[in-house]
Amino acid sequence: MSRNRLFNPALLPLAVTSLLFVLTFGYGAVAYTGFLSSQVFLNLLIDNAFLVVVAIGMSLVILTGGIDLSVGSIIALVTMVSASLVEHHHWPVYVVVPLCLAIGAGFGALMGCLIHFFQLQPFIVTLGGMFLARGLCYVISIDSIEITDPAYMAIAHHKIMLWGENFISINVVIALAVVALGVFLAHYTRFGRTVYAIGGNERSAVLMGLPVGRTKILVYTFSGTCSALAGVVVTFYMLSGYGLHAQGMELDAIAAVVIGGTLLTGGVGYVAGSLVGVLILGVIQSLITFDGTLSSWWTRIAVGVLLCAFCLLQRGLEHGGKRQLATT
């Protein structure tokens, strides 16, 4: 029997996170002129589309209790590969994009295999993957490659007008589609539930007869593919390939996932939370640019302080919320 309850306690972290996002945004709206506009919100999506895509892939990896540090480098590699194929070899976009996705998938699958078959630690394997992918960028070219291909330009410049002057880019559509896919995979497929089971207790998952190995490999493959897709999104976003693109993005992605309420130990969390996590990181950045008076170092300190305040608040609210739920 499932008792009717007003609120599912498992959803609490997600609700808290969303609430905090709204509060932060509200603060910006009051404090800075021009902040309260729908385009500022849409810009959050436009500017962070690639992060959303990576974060979704990362969520599934983290849900299995693993971690993927290679995401940023794979993005850089994909921008580099697409730029050089498009610019130097004049391949069309409909060939390049699938190829890039395949590269990402292959890369992820390879790491997944190392992790599963040889029982290596995900942190180290993906760290190796991170160095490798970044290194391969420089093998292609150490300089940045600009993309002037008309098809790419058209996609990049295409604005999807919503209402009034407000618009989003194609990237946003891609990102939201990936979020939908992630949520579907995680909550409505056997694969997704196995992911959660592995994160909960890998040994139990084995003893329950679940396909643990296959799922782990698939999860890294999925994350690799997401990274590659994020790479494609970045290529549309910046129209260039560059070995230094997306540096340190793995940490942003991890932070977004964790802020979104997923536990790094695996098994607990919501994929949709990662979208909110990304938005929160984005809004922190927006607040700082809108303020515009901080020096470089105060920028960093402010980001740290906001992140900290945010995490503490999140923990506090969750704690309080749990108590409330427990006593009622």
């Binding site: 394997v125 991890i254 932070a255 300190i301």
Partner: protein, 359 residues
């Protein structure tokens, strides 16, 4: 079967249970290090030569040891953190903060003393060093408080300091590189004692202290218990929080000492670049040394060897003339190979394949 018995070179006799452990744990890291050194030696004939220059030992091996000193320190600090299932990605920032604190306190003003120009320190050096170490301790305590007190996940808790800490370091240096002119400060990172770099003695002292704490007090047992099963550890009467805070604080202090060595070595403090990406190298060192990131059993000696492996690899890249474009590719390939070599199941698979080949 998980534990593979492998042929082992005969070694000095240790008490039986200890022998089995050290052998198995440290064999592969040691083998890797030896291999890297041999490769270095093969391509660079002068590699193993050590001469006496300016009254101290001079040579590639000394360089590796000396350069690895900060990394070894950070790895020593990181090991117990990882053993408690944590991680500290703020060490690089702490290195920068402490270097900046020390450098900005000491600085160096030129005065004329008895007709000769001498640089004097702005703050007594001992005090400055203490304040820098205190800053490191504070950073560590802060991390510990976030992890143990507020219950944040270690990677995010330390991410906060990683981001903000670099800002703090730059705030202290005001974005400049602070050059130190006060000679005694250089001893830490550049000095020699009995022919060996002073930094090595510092590492040895810290390592020894930690080894003593781990093996002659209950600290090692407590850390491992908390890392493996925090609930059971609490039920057995351990104060897991206090241990966590201690472990992060120690990591902060280690990073602070590393920061002093780095700053002293280049005679300046660079808030932006000092210790950049050191956290990754330190984590790598700990793992290469055989400690699992899932917490539990740890090996300090392994982490030291891990740090030496990384430094030898870096050195090899420099001295073999690897083009900078493919530095990363080389590094990644070596790291992955080393990990594979250390994986029991990989060796088992490999052996199977070898056996299947007709003789």
């Amino acid at each position: 079967m998980k534990a593979e018995t492998m042929p082992q070179p005969a070694r000095f006799a240790l008490p039986a249970p200890l022998q089995g452990l050290t052998r198995r744990r440290l064999f592969w890291p040691c083998a890797t290090l030896a291999l890297l050194l041999i490769i270095n030696g093969a391509f660079n004939p002068n590699f193993f030569s050590i001469t006496v220059k300016n009254g101290h030992l001079y040579g590639a091996l000394i360089d590796i040891l000396n350069r690895a000193a900060p990394l070894m320190l950070v790895a020593i600090g990181m090991t117990p953190v990882i053993a408690t299932r944590g991680i500290d990605i703020s060490v690089g920032a702490v290195v920068a903060i402490c270097g900046a604190v020390a450098a900005s306190l000491i600085g160096g003003t030129l005065i004329i003393q008895n007709g000769t120009p001498v640089y004097v320190s702005q703050t007594p050096m001992a005090l400055a060093l203490l304040i820098a170490l205190g800053a490191g301790l504070l950073c560590g305590l802060w991390n510990g408080a976030l992890v143990a007190g507020a219950g944040m996940q270690p990677i995010v808790a330390t991410l906060i300091l990683m981001v903000a800490g670099r800002g703090v370091a730059q705030l202290i240096t005001e974005g400049q590189i602070i050059t130190v002119y006060y000679e005694p400060f250089f001893i830490i990172g550049n000095g020699f004692l009995f022919g060996l770099p002073v930094a090595l003695y510092i590492v040895a002292a810290v390592a020894l202290l930690m080894l003593l704490l781990v093996h002659r007090t209950a600290l090692g047992l407590f850390i491992e218990a908390v890392g493996i099963n925090p609930v059971a550890a609490r039920f057995a009467g351990l104060n897991a929080r206090r241990i966590l805070i201690m472990v992060y604080a120690f990591c902060g202090v280690c990073a602070a000492i590393a920061g002093l060595i780095v700053a002293s070595n280049v005679k300046s403090a660079d808030g932006n670049n000092a210790g950049l990406l050191m956290e990754l190298d330190a984590i790598l060192a700990v793992t290469l040394g055989g400690t699992s990131l899932a917490g539990g059993r740890f090996s300090l000696a392994g982490s030291l060897i891990g740090a030496l492996i990384i430094q030898s690899l870096t050195y090899a890249i420099y001295s073999l003339g690897v083009p900078p474009e493919i530095n990363m590719v080389v590094k990644s390939v070596v790291v992955l190979t080393v990990c594979l070599m250390q994986s029991d199941s990989f060796r088992a698979t490999l052996l199977q394949h070898l056996r299947r080949e007709p003789r």
